[in-house]
Amino acid sequence: MKQAIERGKPPQAAGEAAYRPSLAIRLRRDKWLYLLLLPGLLYFALFKYVPMWGILLAFKNYQPFTGFWKSEWVGLEHFRLFFANPEFFLLLQNTLILSFLNLVFFFPAPIVLALLLNEVRRALFKRVVQTMIYIPHFISMVIVASLTYVFLTTEGGPVNELLLQHTGEKIAFLSDPDWFRPIILLQTIWKECGWGTIIFLAALSAVDVEQYEAATIDGANRWKQIWHITLPAIRSTIVILLILRMGSVLDNGFEQIYLMLNPLNRSAAEVFDTYVYAMGITQGAFSYSTAVGLFKSVVGIILVLGTNWLAKKFGESGLY
């Protein structure tokens, strides 16, 4: 009976339903389980929930020597400072442009690649291509940035050597603000596009082959089959990924931007995440940078919930 309750089955008889161990008995029975739970619980408390509490710093004026509790409350002062700072518009602009480019050029790329892979009928060829395009996902961002530097440097990089041979001049890709965004976009596509196909290919493997056969008999060509069978099969996956993507519109991937950022391309490269790092860790303005970080997370949550609401409005199932 005990197990029937645990498995969520309705009790068969009223008499049996009355038997349920008291809390004290259950706690004693499961004491080993609570012991096992303890390390994980401590971890979440210490490294997830204490920092959440630490968000209150955004409303205080934290001084390392006064400590968290004794620092004075300043209300929304840090937010006011941040919004009044001319940097705010630079950060907002850079962040949004990068996110927009990412959404337009990167987001559809794995979908297109998955559709093309799905059209390949030779299993071996498909598997070899998949094996190769997944590799960059496992390469660290530092290596990706290093490769970019080695390829694009003006001091002996192959791209600039070729440019020199054909056009007679070099381009300072790594320090020119105009080149920052294309480079970031290219890095993202190179690193994650292949890996991104996995989730769509998984959804497509569930499509019944007979649907394609029936469509062929009805006279549908390849393009129509993709449009009417393949795409609908991955539509809900696309929507879910889009909702999640919206939540991170203000997150541009700290490591990537930070690695490619330098004083020369800063006008295009500085985003919220790197600003939080520079202000908080480098300059020690803990309260101010916490406020900037909080602003970013709150906008992220609003965007996730908003997109989710919109998706439901248009008849999709949404996340929540």
Partner: protein
Amino acid sequence: MSKRNRSIAGTIFDAANIIFLTACALAAVLPFVYVVAGSFASDAELTSRAVFFIPESLTLDAYKFIFSTDTIMQSIGVSVYVTVIGTAVNLFFTVTMAYALARRGLWGRNFVLNLVIFSMLFGGGMIPTYLVVRGLHLLDSLWSLMLPGAISAFNLIIVKNFFQEIPKEIEDAGRIDGCTELGLLGRIVLPLSMPVLATFTLFYAVGHWNDFFGALLYINDPQKWPLQVMLRQIVLLSQAAAGDMNSMDPSFVAPPDQSIKMAVIVVGTIPILCVYPFLQKHFAKGVLLGSVKG
């Protein structure tokens, strides 16, 4: 071949598709081939040929040079240490918590699960987490690279779901034979979960090896820098000396800057490429597991 493949347009599409996909696959790996080739190439070749995949004359000078001092070896040591110990920490925390949360009758289980899920949606952010790590006096300690990310909530939930699907009857049989709760975990549940745990071991390990953010935030002491930070110093900032000319033979000609950087990149990439075949065997399964709701 099915009928839908017979039209001329279809054939052209198939050919174009195969060419395009081949190009994509090559684009994913050729940068590595070039970097490996460049790291073995001589100065003359690097300046005379812009792009090549097989060097005409092989030289090990770049590697000799970067291993002439302890800088690289030491950071590799740090990375290996953090990867091994850190992955063990990850597995310990993830498995114990997942096992407890897999028991449906556990009092407080839903509350804890909700705490975990909420932490996936919202977090304290960079600075408050930094202050917690600093408050624990973990700055400049390698534990700061292992403890703050000890559990990935996402992985925890997948492992929990997997444990939950192990048939109750097997556990009951173990209990009747006198297994304690810990014995059950060690002798029945863990052996049954080996494939899943192997997947997460690899993913956690790759995560540690590739981690740059943690060390950037928490480690200031160059002696304790992992390889990723050292890579950035050498390749991106050109600030750390990869080798020492004074320790080399007087006849040794300094290898070109480019091939030194390429050699460092190769050293940083090889471990990943070595585990990749194993990863590949597991990750499709891992990702599919993630889509199972529980």
